[in-house]
Symmetry: D2
Subunit: 335 residues, 4 copies
C-alpha cells in the first residue's frame, strides 16, 4: 500500500462521482480513503458502479467526520449542498467542489438562476484561463467549472480577451450526452425517450448562463442546450461577431500552446465528441462563416472528463503541487 | 387492383427512395407502377429495403422509358442528375424532384455551392409558404425542399415576412440523423464512428445555405450542421434578432393555423425529433432569450418525412388535386 | 365524422397505450371514443405522447363507466389489473387485454411466475396458430400475446407441431428494445445506463416462460432475455433439436403461406429488428447449424407492433369481422 | 524519454490498431517506436484516430524493416496477412498476432472456415486457461484470441474441464458491438442501418467456431452471432447441459480466483457490456435455468479490450516478464 495523498469523494454514487472514483483509484499519487453517498450508503461500490468491479470499497455516509481525515476532498453533491458540508471541514483540507455553489461572483445571478442565498465565491477551477493555474495552486478551495461552461469558455474566452470577438452578441447551441443530466430516474431521461431523439431544454433560461458569461467575458449570451442520444460528450457551437480581422484559429492556438489538455485541431479537422470520451481533453476548431462573416468555434469534450471529474483531478493536482496531467489521459477511448 | 394514379419512383434504392416506396405503396390513390435504381437494378425491393418485405416489386433501370408511362414521377437521384432525366420525360408527366437541381433561383449560388451549370428553377415545393400551395397545384414540375431548408424555413420565414425578425443576422445550428447523409458506404458514416458522437461538418460552407436564404428571406446566415447518432430527424435551433416587440409564438401560430402538418406547440413544450419520426409533421416552438433578447425558434421534423419523401408526397397530392394529407401521417412512431 | 366502431383504450399513457392510440386514431373503421390513464388522467394526449401532436383528446380516468359505452376496449394495464376492470364491463363489449392476466391455462404457473390468484383464461390472441383465427373471431374476450411469446411462438410452434423439432430442449436467447420494459422511471432504464449496453435480466426465471411453453408446445425451455440499446424491436434466437430430417424453412413457409404479417424470408436473408419497426410484421428465417446440427430460427418483430398494439388491433379486426390487416402496416419505417 | 521496451504496431489504422496505440502509448514500460498501415500510411495518427490527438506520430508503411528494430511487435492485420509478415521478422522479436492465422491446431478447420493454407499454430494467447500463463511467458510468438472466443471460452472452459458441463451440446448466442466488424466501409455497417437494429449474421457458420471449440473444449457448438447497436462490447449467452450437480458459479469463481481481469460477479448481479468498456476485464455470472435445468453463463467484455488489444498487451506483458496488469485497466469507463 502506497503512502500517497489521502483523497475522499463525497457524492460518489452519481455519474461524476463514479468517474472520480475511477480516476482517483487509478491515480499514482492518490489513496482513495473514503467514498460517501446518501441513499446508496452501505452498498459496495461495484453494486452502484458495475464498471468498478474489482474495487473493494463500501460507500459510507456523507458526513464531515468521514471526510475530515483526508488531505483532499472532492464534493460531487447536488447543487446547493456543498456549502454546508464544506463549512464543517477543517481549513487545511483541500476541497474541489464539482457543484455550482461557489462558482459565481454575483449573488444576484445566483438568486435569479438557482434561487436561495449564495454561498460565496471560490477560486474558479479552469486552469487554462490566464493566470488561473497559479491561483488554483495557491487555493485550498476551488470551484470546478460546469460542463457547459468548460466547453464554451475554452472556445470563447481567448477570442474575447484578445479583442478578436465581440462579447456583446454571442450565440451558443450546445448538445450534451445524458450523463450530464444526472442519475436520478426521471421519465424524460429513459432510454426509450432519448434514443433517436434530440431534445432542447431550458431554452434561453439555463442556469449555466451567468457562469458562462463570467468565465468567458461574454456580455450578451443566447444559449440553447440540447440533450443528445449518447451517454457522454458535449459539442458546443459558439458563434460571435468578429471584432477585428484576425484568424481565430491562431488566437486559440496561441492561447493554448502550453495547455496539455486543450487541442486546437489542424485545419480541416473538426472536433467531435467521441474523440474525447474518457479523456480530460478539449478539442477546438474555429472558422469564419463565408456567408455571415460570424466567427464559429466548435468545442468538444467529455462532460464527465474535462467537464467534471477530469477537470477536478487536474485542479487537485495543481493544488497539491503535482504535474497537472498526473493520473489523467489526454487520449480518448474510441470507437 | 385499383385504377389509381400511376406513380413511379426513380432512385428508389436510397433512403429517400425507400421512404417514397413505403408512402406510395400505402397511398390510397396511388399505384406504384415502377421503381428504378442504378447499381441495385434487377434486385427485389425487399432485398434492398428489408422493411418493405411483402412488397412484390423488382427494381428496374433508371431510364426515361421506364418512367414515361407514369402520371407522376418522383426523382430521388443524386444532386445534379435530375435535370437530364427530367428533360427526357413528357411534359404532361408530373415530376417532383427531391434533388437540389431545380431549387435555386440564382445560377451563381448554384455554381458557388454545387459547381457546374444550373438546370433552372422549378416551383419550390414548400406548401406552407404563403401562396405556394396554389403555385404547386398549378405546376407539373416541383422542386422539393432540402431537409435542412424545410426545418429552418418553416421556423423562420413567417417571422421575417412579418417583420418580427431581422433577416440580417440569422444564426442556425441544426443537427441531423445519419439518413440525411445518404446510403453510400463512407467511413465517417459507419456506426462505429457515429455512435456516441456529435460531429459538425461543412461548418460555415454548407451547400444548403443559398436555398435556406432564398426560401426563408434571411439575408445573412451562419449555418452549422451537425451529424447526430440517430437514423432520422432534424432539430434546428434558429436564432435571430427581433425587429420589433412581437410574440414570435403568436406569429408562427397564425402563419400555420391552416397547415395540417406544421404544429406550433403549446407553451412549455419544445420540439424534439423522436416525436416526428415516420410522420410528415414539423413541430415548432419559439421564445425570447432572457439574457440576449434573441428570438430562438426550435424546429423538429423527420428528414425523410417532411424533409424529403413525405414533403414530396404532399406536393404530389397538391399537384394532382388530392387533399394534401392523403396517404401521409400527422403522427409519429414513438418511442 | 365517421359512424365507425366505437373503441376505447384503457392504460393509454404507457408505450403500448401510445401505439394503440396511434393505430386506433389512424384506423379507417374505428372511432377513438375514450382513452384513459391513471396518474396522467386529465392531461392532453399530446403532452403524454408528443408524437400524437394534432390528436385532440384528453386522457380520462380508468373506470368502467368511461369504457362501457365502447364497442371494443383495449386494456393496456399493468399485469394483474385487467381482471378486475374487465369484470365490470358489459358482456357485449369486446375486450382485448394486452396484459398477462388471461393468457395462461395453468393457475399454478400463474402463481409461480406472477404470484396471486389466476383470473382465468381467455382466447389466446395469436391468430397465426392453427385454428386460432376462427376462435378469436368468435370471442368477445381475447388475451393478447406477450411480446417475447409472440416472437418465439411464431418461430417455434409450427416446427414442434410438425414434428420437425423436439419440444424437449429448446434454448432461446431474445433481446428486446427498452420500450418492452415500460415507461416507469427506473434507474436501470435510464439512457445513460442503456446506451452502449447489452444487459441480461431475469435469466432462467422470466415470467413469460409458461406462456411461451403453452403457446409453442415446448416442454423444456431455457430462456435468456437481454435488454438492448434501441427503443423497439425483439430479436429471438430459437434453437431446438431437430426431430427428423426436414427443411425447417419449408415447414415455416407452409405454415404462414396465408398469414399476411408473418414473412419467412428468402434464403440468404436474416431477420433484423429495424426492418419491422412500426409494422405489424414478424420476419423469420431458419437454418441447421453446420457444427451442432441444431435447428436455429431467427425471429424479429416490433415489440409494440406484432408484440403488443399491432397484434391487439389485428385481434380486434378479427373479433369485429373486419379484414385482419385493416389499419395495420405490413411495412416498417426504416432506416 | 524513457529507455523502455521498444514496441511497434502493424496494422495501426483499424480499430484494434487504434486501441493498441492508446494502450502502448500509455504503457509505463513501452516506447511506441513505430506504427504502420496500408492505405493510411503517411498520415498523422490523429487524422486516422482523432481520439489520439496529442500523440505525435506518423503512420509508416507495413514492411519488415520498419518493425524489425522493435523488441515486440503487435500484428493487427486482416486475417491471412500475418503469417507472411511474421516470417520476415527476426526470431528474437516477440510477436503478438491479433489475427486468426496462428490460432488453430487443425489445418482442416482452417481450410473449412477460412480457406487457403494454414500458417501453423502459435501459443494461444488466453492467459487464464490452466497453465497457459506460463506457456505464454516462454513464447516469442503468441496468437491472440478472437473476441468471441475470449468471451465464450472464459465462460465455458472451466465448466467443461471440471466436468460440470457436457461438451456435447453447447448453445451460444453472442452479440457484438460494431467495432468487432472492422473499419472497412460496408453498407450494412452504416449507422443508418445499425441504429435501432439487432442483426444476426453467419448463423451457424461463423469462422470462430473451431477456435471456440478448441479453446473451450466444446465438442458440439451452435453459435449465433448478432450485431448490436453499440460501438464496443460482447455479451455472450452460453448454455450447456450440466454433467453433474455442481454450482457453476463456484467452479468459475475458483478457476479465476487469481485472475486479475476475470471477475465472477456476486450473486444477483449479471454481466453487461457497458461496465467493461475501455477495460481489460471480463465479467461472468452463471445460473441453472429453473425450467430446463440448463447451465447458463453470461460473459461480457470489451471486444477491443479483453477481446483484442487489451488481451494482446496482457500477453505482451507476460512475454516480457512484466506484471500482467501493467498499463491495463481493470475498470471500465461508464456510463
Amino acid at each position: 500500500m502506497s503512502m500517497g495523498i489521502r483523497v475522499a469523494v463525497a457524492g460518489a454514487s452519481g455519474y461524476a462521482g463514479g468517474e472520480l472514483l475511477r480516476l482517483v483509484a487509478g491515480h499514482p499519487e492518490f489513496d482513495l480513503v473514503a467514498a460517501t453517498a446518501h441513499s446508496q450508503a452501505g452498498h459496495r461500490v461495484d453494486v452502484v458502479h458495475p464498471q468498478l468491479t474489482g474495487l473493494d470499497l463500501v460507500l459510507g455516509t456523507t458526513d464531515p467526520t468521514a471526510l475530515a481525515d483526508a488531505d483532499l476532498v472532492f464534493l460531487a453533491l447536488p447543487h446547493g449542498e456543498s456549502a454546508a458540508l464544506a463549512a464543517q471541514l477543517p481549513a487545511e483540507v483541500r476541497i474541489v467542489d464539482l457543484g455550482a455553489d461557489h462558482r459565481l461572483a454575483d449573488p444576484y445571478a445566483w438568486a435569479q438562476y438557482y434561487g436561495g442565498t449564495h454561498a460565496g465565491q471560490w477560486t474558479y477551477g479552469l486552469p487554462e484561463l490566464p493566470g488561473q493555474r497559479e491561483l488554483i495552486a495557491e487555493s485550498t478551495r476551488v470551484a470546478n467549472t460546469g460542463c457547459y461552461a468548460a466547453a464554451i469558455t475554452l472556445a470563447l474566452a481567448p477570442l474575447i480577451a484578445d479583442g478578436a470577438a465581440s462579447p456583446a452578441d454571442v450565440v451558443v447551441v450546445a448538445a450534451s450526452g445524458t450523463s450530464g443530466a444526472g442519475r436520478a430516474a426521471k421519465p424524460h431521461l429513459l432510454a426509450s425517450e432519448v434514443l433517436g431523439d434530440l431534445s432542447p431544454y431550458r431554452v434561453g433560461t439555463h442556469q449555466h448562463v451567468p457562469e458562462i458569461k463570467q468565465a468567458s467575458g461574454a456580455t450578451g449570451l443566447s444559449f440553447t442546450p440540447v440533450l443528445a442520444p449518447m451517454p457522454r460528450g458535449i459539442l458546443a457551437t459558439v458563434t460571435a461577431v468578429p471584432a477585428r480581422g484576425v484568424d481565430p484559429q491562431q488566437v486559440l492556438a496561441q492561447a493554448y500552446a502550453d495547455a496539455p489538455f486543450v487541442h486546437v485541431l489542424p485545419e480541416g479537422r473538426w472536433p467531435h465528441t467521441a474523440a474525447t470520451l474518457g479523456s480530460n481533453s478539449c478539442h477546438l476548431q474555429a472558422t469564419v462563416d463565408i456567408d455571415s462573416g460570424r466567427l464559429i468555434v466548435l468545442s468538444a469534450l467529455d462532460n464527465l472528463g474535462k467537464g467534471a471529474a477530469g477537470q477536478a483531478v487536474q485542479n487537485a493536482n495543481l493544488m497539491l503541487g503535482l504535474p497537472e496531467t498526473t493520473g489523467l489521459s489526454i487520449w480518448g477511448v474510441a470507437p
